[in-house]
Amino acid sequence: MSAELVLQKLTKVFKGRGKPVIAVDHVDLEVQKGELLTLLGPSGCGKTTTLRLVGGFEFPTEGEIYLGGQPITHLPPQRRPTATVFQSYGLFPHMSVFENIAFGLKIRHIPRAEIRRRVEEVLNLVGLAGLEDRPPTKLSGGQQQRVALARVLVIKPKVLLFDEPLSNLDAKLRVETREHIRRIQKDLGITSLYVTHDQAEAMAISDRIVVMNQGRIQQIGAPHEVYLRPANAFVADFIGRANFLRARVVAQNVVGIEVELTNGERVVVEHHFDFAVGENVRLVVRPEAIDLVAPEEGLLRGQIVLVQLTGASAHYRIALDSGETVEVEILGALERGVLSPGTLVGLRLHSRSLWILRE
């Protein structure tokens, strides 16, 4: 599998009224042919700027971009084999759905019959057959999104760029549509670069995720990797939620690494790390990787201070004896019985799901 899209030391500095802002800081990235790579991060992390640099709507201060081996760094958008689905879709209000989708083909001087065939083909693909003659203003948000998608698919670009395409849709539609997009992308095998701040979305559809913060890449990896083995505290806390417990390394062996928590209890994490014995570290525990048991049965002990129900699960905030706070998520709590604030509990950790980070 060759790299279709290569970003080399890509940097973008914005000179505003005050201090210059480094939006993208020496980003190195390779997107494989046919993969859907997601840029994930909070607002201002540089993901959108990076996407726009690839699309040609911004030009880098430093660095190069290669597509299919060819440098495209200085080409204007119309000469790049990329196509973008924008957050606000950018549909042409004065053209019908058909004309919107046909636009790219018309620019390329494709003969009329051929245009008709391809547009109808793609309309079927996205499920909008029959709506050719509608003006975009008369479509629902979800339909508009599909037109935007159809418009870029029909010109068969080498790389698809998605700029938070789902953020204007309501929650349920978002889930439906992201599956739809992923399916089409996989079927057609188009290399795609996807930007979102929604980590659930990223986890659901990506081949690989790039977590970004303050213009820099924090971690690149498959969703489960990034989730289970975060490279740093930022990634750990951004994807899902994470609890950090203070710990100290006591031993390293064949199985993994043993750490001692503040209350003296010890835990083994089944992975090899490069830490020295005696080093202070942080134990990363996901809320769903904790069971609540009777106080004397738990590794840790504490008191429930907050309870929130979200239908499928119950969320508990527990103040530990050691003084730290942990968040615990119990699935199906309503069935089993919800605990009330003030209850003393014991906590047991799923050792397979533990992770360690530097202090």
Binding site: F57, P76, P77, Q78, T84, F86, Y89, G104, I155
Partner: protein, 558 residues
């Protein structure tokens, strides 16, 4: 810190269509905006090839024929700006924030002076308030009052009437754009309406007030038509510069007076750009106002209504007098009804009228298109020199018409570009003098289009022209047509810029009007005025129809 690359020239070379357009635009602006202006500077500073800023030195010495017009112009400018802004604000507030009756009518009234031919307000002022004016005779002498409308009072009166609509439209837009939530929350927290107005609404309109002030200041300074009639013994720079050039052929003196005029206007313009920014400060095709602090208290509403009514009444009176005068034998002396004046205009003046329409008709589409291309380049694209282009293209907004005309005469009088006496020079002046308005309107239009649409078009493979033609132009066409109608009116009512370039072959109707005024043939002048008003309003009504048709067309797509 990474070093920014040697600019986007490389990038520009990859987009040849864009590069070519930028190159051509720079060339046009350089040749037809900057070059003529530079010639005016040159003539004021050099005499027969040697550096000799004679008249600048005289000015600093305090010689009266240089110092007086300068101080006079400034005085009038400041007064007109102050009074006009106040009046405009009252008008705007009444129309946007109260429920007085007849709002639509008042808005049309305010439009009148904007597209009016020059001189007419001053003529009416003389007829009403002159030494032997109607009001003077009936009212003043009865009470033994001695007051002359000539000079400072007349200038302030006519120019305030002529320009307060600009303040009105600016402030109308500003008042409508104040977020009602701000006012509502103030009142919610217990502030009275008056307090809210003083502490919340008014401060938010300060940029608009400043913009109006500066705008009116610039316009007043460059006014030519009114001072020509009514300046009396209170000379102002525009008229004196004109007299120096055409009367005495004293080019250095004329050019010096022009530069003295240019300094305050350009300064005001720069302050305007920096402080208020590039936001469209006038949208004459405004929409009816809705939200915001509404005053329905009678003790506020009715006084405002009376003021607005009074102002509208004055406008009707002044222009009505022109209409009346056009049908009289000998305006001011013999008021028998006659159509002779119109016969005269259509016989002697027919070629003037046709020429004016022809030339304005050619200039308008070119100017409109050029304006929107530049607006597009300046707001949507980045390239080296973008801000320079923005400033230069808008420069003529601040440069008084008389200086533009002067510059063209100096610049294009000799080969290789000898354009004096041709139609081309008039068309060029029309285009480049009015272009800032077209650009500003273009910017406003483009702001209504989500930039995403441009990105999408380029993303799908369309180059500069393709995007412009297929996407931008159709979307702005209603506003473009509206803008062109105003541009057409502005060209037809143009005087100070073109007065020095009309020739035997290419005469313009406003210059003919001036001749009638010069000769104090007032009935004939009035007839010309009426014809121009009719033409201009006709153009606007046609535009209105066209805009509706265009809007209707792409609302039902296919």
């Amino acid at each position: 810190m990474p070093r920014p690359p040697f600019f986007s020239v490389t990038r520009l070379l990859h987009d040849p269509a864009l590069f070519l357009v930028i190159f051509v635009v720079f060339g046009l602006v350089g040749l037809f905006v900057v070059y003529p202006l530079s010639r005016v500077f040159y003539v004021s500073l050099f005499y027969r090839g040697a550096f000799n800023p004679r008249y600048f030195l005289y000015f600093f010495e305090g010689r009266p024929y240089l110092l007086r017009p300068f101080l006079n112009s400034l005085t009038v400018g400041v007064l007109v700006a102050l009074i006009g802004t106040t009046v405009g604000f009252i008008f705007a507030y009444a129309v946007t924030r109260t429920d007085i009756p007849g709002k639509k009518v008042f808005r049309w009234m305010a439009m009148f002076p904007i597209i009016s031919p020059p001189f007419l307000l001053a003529l009416s002022a003389v007829l009403l308030l002159g030494e032997n004016g109607l009001i003077t005779r009936w009212i003043f002498t009865r009470f033994g009052l001695r007051w002359s409308v000539y000079g400072l009072p007349g200038l302030v009166l006519t120019e305030t009437l002529a320009y307060f609509p600009l303040a009105f439209f600016t402030l109308e837009g500003v008042l409508m754009s104040v977020d009602p939530a701000l006012e509502e929350s103030a009142m919610d927290l217990g502030a009275s309406k008056l307090r809210t107005f003083l502490r919340v609404t008014l401060p938010l309109t300060i940029p608009g007030l400043a913009a109006s002030f500066l705008l009116l200041f610039i316009r007043s300074l460059e006014d030519f038509g009114n001072p020509v009639v009514i300046q009396g013994r209170y000379p102002v720079l525009t008229v004196q510069a004109y007299l120096a050039i055409t009367g005495m052929y004293n080019l250095p003196l004329g050019a010096t007076l022009a530069i003295l005029l240019l300094v305050p206007t350009v300064l005001a313009f720069i302050i305007l750009q920096l402080w208020v920014g590039r936001r469209s400060y006038i949208t004459v095709t405004g929409r009816p106002s809705t939200a915001g602090l509404h005053t329905t208290e009678p003790y506020v509403k009715w006084p405002l209504f009376v003021i607005v009514l009074f102002l509208s009444g004055i406008i009707i009176l002044f222009y009505g007098l022109v209409f009346y005068g056009a049908f009289t034998e000998l305006w001011g002396v013999n008021h028998t009804f006659t159509l002779d004046n119109f016969r005269y205009v259509f016989s002697t003046g027919s070629s003037y009228l046709i020429n004016t329409l022809k030339l304005a008709g050619v200039a308008t589409p070119i100017g409109g298109l050029l304006g929107i291309v530049i607006a597009y380049l300046v707001t949507r694209k980045t390239f080296p020199g973008r801000r320079v282009l923005d400033f230069l293209a808008m420069l003529n907004f601040a440069v008084p018409g008389i200086i533009v005309g002067m510059g063209y005469v100096f610049a294009f009088n000799t080969p290789p570009l000898q354009l004096t006496g041709t139609a081309a020079i008039i068309v060029l002046i029309f285009i480049f003098q009015r272009m800032p308005v077209a650009i500003r309107d273009g910017v406003a239009m483009l702001q209504q289009i989500d930039p995403v649409i441009d990105d999408a078009s380029a993303d799908l493979g369309a180059g500069f022209w393709q995007t412009f033609r297929r996407v931008t132009l159709p979307l702005v066409s209603p506003a473009l047509v509206a803008g062109m109608a105003y541009m057409f009116s502005a060209c037809v009512t143009s005087i100070s810029a073109v007065i020095m370039v009309v020739s035997a072959k290419w005469q313009l109707v406003t210059v003919a009007l001036l001749h009638e005024v010069d000769n104090a043939d007032l009935s004939q002048a009035a007839a010309y005025g009426v014809i121009i008003i009719v033409v201009v309003w006709g153009a606007i009504l046609i535009m209105d129809v066209m805009v509706r048709w265009l809007l209707g067309r792409w609302r039902h797509v296919r």
